[in-house]
Point group: C2
Chain length 330, copies 2
């Protein structure tokens, strides 16, 4: 097609191939194996391609999210919209550089989403498997877009409820990152209703715990390890479960702390301000509460998994993945 489209697509390709933890394909693939899929068998190649398509959905989600969050770096490189903004500026092209960067990033995100579907359709899985995964694939995309919508909507409306924050965790993270990928793997293998149900409960629990860990890292994480500025979520005004719990407790026990939390979230905080807020959140007991919830969710998930009909090998893998997802420090 000429005109620089290939170069633009190369930027997208580099973005997809350059990094990322591949969490979603890994859960889908492990879910498939746990439901009896044979990694040495003839279905393995097509199934691997179908699972990998999740990374293209993720590329769309990240590229568009980075516009929405006005993020400038991702995976250690300038975000896609920033790359095109810089290219525009370097070329002294006409129009506004930031707007050009966003426009190109919108289109490349769309392309990744379209190609995700192409990749599923051209994966080589049979028509029966394709029919089985179709509703899972549909639900997953609708859920993650809904979760992203709820996220920005809660932030804009300064929704302080634990319920609202939990809904974002449920759809933006848990369903999209673990529950539906496992469900997809199960559907690819033609798993029965019992295993599907076990996977989904396991995935929801671990997915929410994964996000709760993220909430803690967003406030208490070590910038040298997470790669994000210290206290990033507080400055960005993220309405996390951690923050909602802190507020709830402050409203009950400590009106001064409640006023301090409300007055500082989403503002341009100094490092000293962040330290003070951390102490407030901790002393309110919100950190211990979130750690307790993570522990309960992991216990519940592992109990569900142990009682399921997943293969022993997959149980071991999923247990390791669950622990890694919820006890990480980055």
């Amino acid at each position: 097609m000429g005109g620089g489209y290939r170069d633009a697509v190369t930027t997208l390709e580099n973005f997809v191939l350059r990094g990322g933890k591949r969490v979603r394909p890994a859960f889908a693939w492990t879910g498939w194996i746990g439901a009896g899929g044979d990694p040495q068998g003839p279905d393995a190649g097509p199934v691997l391609r179908a699972c990998s398509a999740l990374e293209l959905v993720q590329a769309c989600a990240l590229v568009h999210d980075d516009i929405i969050d006005a993020s400038t770096t991702r995976r250690g490189f300038p975000t896609v919209h920033v790359q095109f903004e810089e290219r525009h500026r370097a070329g002294s092209w006409s129009g506004e550089s930031p707007h050009f960067g966003e426009a190109v990033a919108i289109l490349l995100g769309d392309l990744a989403l379209a190609w995700a579907d192409d990749m599923i359709r051209e994966s080589g899985i049979g028509p029966d498997a394709a029919a089985r995964i179709s509703p899972v694939w549909s639900a997953m995309r609708t859920e993650v877009l809904g979760g992203q919508f709820l996220d920005i909507s809660n932030e804009a409306r300064a929704d302080e409820s634990i319920d609202a924050a939990m809904r974002v965790n449920r759809y933006k993270t848990a369903a999209y990152t673990i529950e539906r990928p496992l469900h997809l793997g199960a559907a690819l293998a033609g798993a029965g209703e019992n295993l599907v149900s076990a996977y989904r409960r396991f995935g929801t629990d671990i997915g929410i715990a994964f996000q709760l860990r993220d909430d803690l890292l967003g406030v208490f994480g070590d910038p040298a390890v997470t790669g994000k500025p210290s206290g990033d979520d507080l400055r960005a005004g993220k309405r996390t479960v951690l923050f909602a719990l802190a507020l709830q407790r402050a409203d009950r026990d400590d009106p001064g702390a409640a006023a301090a939390l409300r007055g500082s979230i989403g503002t341009d905080l100094s490092d000293a301000d962040v330290d003070t807020l951390r102490e407030t959140i901790t002393s309110l007991g919100a950190v211990a509460d979130v750690e307790k919830r993570i522990g309960e969710l992991v216990d519940s998930a592992l109990t569900t998994l142990a009682a399921s009909t997943a293969t022993p090998e997959a149980k071991q893998h999923l247990t390791d993945m669950a622990v890694a997802a919820t006890r990480r420090n980055s």
Copy 2:
């Protein structure tokens, strides 16, 4: 999912159902009938659903294009991003209203694109038809996104070449609006290579002619009929074939006119400036040139169609549609 997602989706639903010419589904459906599809037969329902999915791709294209072009109205209503910007402002929510509007519109456009795929997959067409349309569907989405990319890229780089403008017409309009929809209809019906090839040549010619007519309307259209401000393309700095032809002729015949064209495109023109530019473009012969090209493309398309194996009824319909698409005044 709660949290206002349903309301947001209702905005998208209203956008899709409220209007539009349904050009793409109409060409796809007529293409299917012309290849032997029976509108009274059992395939008609599934085929109609598959053709209608094109309107969801178009919803994504328009919602995202309106962000990219910073357009405030579409189909007589505020654009989607403006609607959410206004909702944000009316609610005195936190953050910047324009940014919130764009963020929601990015997500709703993504949702429309995802649902377009869902609609194809759940249309009820058989696996053979699904396999036949798969490469057409893939190509169409990649082409239209490429065409949009080339469009903004040409504008940013102030590319003056007729070739660059023609490439945008080819991919952003012709392939996406007529060629691929007809191809899709033919593939749904299992048409042979000859008819597919005839449809594609017809579609490319009419699609380009359609866009050339649009170029003329963008400069000379009556605002009362087109619904767009007079001389809109000149103010917006659109790099159309019309403009490229005018520049080419000015460079050859009239350096003063060339300087005037280059100095005014993409600037904040008064109505009097627009009138002057119109006279310049006309007196350079660019309008006559574009009209001649439109006439030749329509002739070529109708000759191709007449010689094809499409059914007589479809030939009549496609001829009428071709004329309507290229002789309209809005």
